[in-house]
């Protein structure tokens, strides 16, 4: 009854990796080449063809405006895969810098910074996002900044913890004795060693970001009017689920599949490092 095979089993891991990468690649391709891959323009309306069932001509059917759902789902990849990576990038860069500095120097600045970051970290990322977008309006900049800001503390914490460990190591001491500048020590000695954990953490945040962006679009805060954001598609077609299920199901599966694939990727990277 108690098995000894764990999920970290190499063959299992490989399968998971393949699935995750495939799904992710599909969405990235959609984001980059959506214009070419989509059979129709995501905004082209055919009012005579409202709520058409999925068919060979319209793989995912049409919505209430007669728009091709398949094309809209493909087009919806771009906004998400633009904002999410940018937000995570912002969080990673600022978080890494802050984490390195506080972890290395410690002392008062570290204490104060940690206190402040801690209080930001326990906020659900959605709250400041909702407030910011409701007050400042929906724009790529606002979303990137607010989500980046919400994810930064966790990355800072991770980097800081790792830096604390690295700081005590001999090669760091050696570099210091050699008279290397702080920037060198942080950038060339410590950073490469902790890069792995940063990558893992960032990937997890990426899944988080996709989740949050879709939710914001659903609430009505994230998406531009007419934009094929997946969350907005689900929100707009809620009432049609019973008789036009394709207008809701496909965008919903799109969100879930992207989040799953990124999470799986993070899982695999993490397991590979700890193996």
């Amino acid at each position: 009854m108690i098995g000894t095979r764990s999920a970290a089993d190499p063959s299992r891991r490989r399968v998971t990796l393949v699935i995750a990468v495939t799904i992710l690649a599909l969405w990235v391709a959609s984001a980059l080449f959506g214009g070419v891959l989509a059979p129709f323009s995501p905004s082209a309306q055919l009012p005579r063809l409202k709520f058409a069932d999925p068919s060979a001509h319209h793989l995912f059917g049409t919505d209430g405006f007669g728009r091709d759902v398949f094309s809209r789902v493909i087009a919806g990849a771009r906004p998400v895969l633009t904002i999410a990576p940018l937000a995570v990038l912002l969080a990673t860069v600022t978080g890494t810098v802050l984490g390195l500095l506080t972890g290395y120097f410690g002392g008062l600045t570290d204490g104060v910074a940690m206190k402040i970051l801690q209080s930001i970290a326990i906020l659900p990322p959605l709250f400041p996002a909702v407030l910011a977008v409701a007050l400042l309006g929906r724009s790529t900049t606002v979303l990137v900044v607010v989500l980046g800001f919400a994810f930064m503390p966790i990355i800072t914490w991770t980097v800081r913890s790792a830096t604390l460990v690295e700081r005590e190591k001999q090669f760091v001491e050696a570099a210091r004795l050699r008279g290397e500048s702080t920037a060198y020590i942080l950038g060339r000695e410590i950073l490469p060693n902790i890069a792995g954990s940063i990558v893992v953490e960032s990937t997890v945040r990426l899944a988080d970001a996709v989740f949050s962006i879709a939710t914001l679009a659903f609430i009505g805060l994230g998406a531009a009017p007419g934009s094929p954001d997946w969350g907005a598609q689900v929100a707009d077609n809620r009432v049609n689920l019973q008789f036009a299920w394709w207008t809701v199901l496909f965008p919903a599966v799109a969100v879930a599949s992207l989040v799953i694939s990124v999470s799986l990727l993070a899982d695999v990277i993490r397991e590979r490092r700890s193996a």
Binding site: Q45, R48, F51, G137, A224, G226, V239
Partner: protein, 573 residues
Amino acid sequence: MSDNELQREWAGELARLARSGAISRREVLRKASVFGLSLPLIGAVLAACGSDDDKTSGSESPTTAGGSNTTAATQSSSSGSATPASTPASTPAGQGGTLAVGALTPSTEVDPVIGYDAASIAIFQLTHEYLIWLNPDFTLRPQLAESWTPEEAGKRWVVSVRKGVTFSDGTPLDADTVKASFDRLLDPDSESAALSAFDGVLEAGGITVKDPSTVVFDLVRPYADFPYLISANTYNTVILPKDYTGPYQDHAIGTGPFVLTSFSATDGAKFSRNETYWDTGKPGLDGVEIKFYKDPQAQVLGLQSGEVDTQVTSIISLLTPVANNPDFTIDQVNGTGVNVFTMRVDQAPFDKKNIRQAVATALDRQAINDTLSNGAAALGNDHLLAPAYPASPTDIPQREIDLDKVKELLAGESVSFKLTFEPPLKDFAVVIQEQLKQADISVELDQRTSDEFYAGDQATDTPWLFTTANLVGWAGRAVPTQFIIPMIKSDGIWNGSKYANPDLDAAADAYDATTDEAEKKKQAKIIAEAMHEDTPVIITDWSASVRPYNSKKWTGISAHPSSFVDFNDVAPV
């Protein structure tokens, strides 16, 4: 009360016009209700008409509910005695049932004096009443006013207050109370938007009490359509107790068919039947429950799941699942609500007429109708004389999509502009953008929050009146000049296009000043043709108002062009 000299004169006009076929029987009834003619006089006018097809005018509502309203209008649009509007079989107490109604959460406090969103209005329309009610076909029905009589060519109106009416706390209704209600609205310090509705027609001090049941309105200028202004058409004119101060939920004392029993700003309101209601036998319902929903989709889901039986406001394009459900009926009535696409004629690229005409000709109005209104709306022809108005011209050729003509009008010029709007008109904006793309006209969507859209100074920079191109939604008005004067006259307070045409100004003034139907038609035609030709605004369609309801459980629910609620005739199936 018998008709005075003036009324008999106007009745004669009506009869003459009807005989010559210039106006239909329906229009006769409507005008008669406005003039406050007595029942016998109306009968005489109709007899003079001869038989005429009721269904010629566009304001007919296609279902039985609309039909019953017509008969009610015939009976009661006059200055008869205190007979109730109709005598249905009264439902025994306890068997009337409670009607559950879905409404969108009001974004402001519910207040009869300043409230302006449909849910707030529906709430206080259940507990309070007007002097005159507005029927879905735009005829007027006496409510707290028994009759009204014009004098001095329509510069003075004498209103007879219904006798024997009491507020729900026992206070009797008298002329002083009516005067107090209107004084409250006309006070220059008043916060009510009704002040702007009376602008130029009635001012503070213009109301006097002749005797405990007669109120006299002395106007600034003769206005034949004045009864509309003191009717539900101006939704803040509910009659409140003399000493009313508010807030509404604590002081909901009214003369209406229901009494407020509980209120929550987040959940909704509950009402029970007013046992001392003046219209004996009504309402049949034991009570009403209004439930708030945060957004239109949730509202429809509530309807589908049976949580509510009907709605205050509805968006047609969301009702497809309900339309397919045999348990539900969707009552529909043509309205004069409209979404106006305004272009600033004093700014590029719209300072040239051919560009404006090009944009107008590039739109596929039928497709807009199909997509956004499931085909239920009436097509618009870029002027403010809706098909539902009796005086509207019917012979101006309908502008239709013609991409060749567009190219011709553009003459090689490339046009692009920013379209500004608030979230409720998002779908309309998206459709416009897509359609204009087909004509190589590029539109940038500029969605603002509702707050931002209406903020700023109304005289200098508020987005809804000053952006180059914008979309603004308007609730229906009973009289076309209520749109035309503020929106398109050169000095209009809500003139977003900055259109200034002295001929049109003169025609609008002339329209209001005359009671002669033929003259009204003539002036309306001048206005319509000017607007159609100069195209300061694009009007693609006139909204249909719909109200879905569970017809397996209830009868007597009908749609209303202004989304008003009148549940007096609702009964379980």
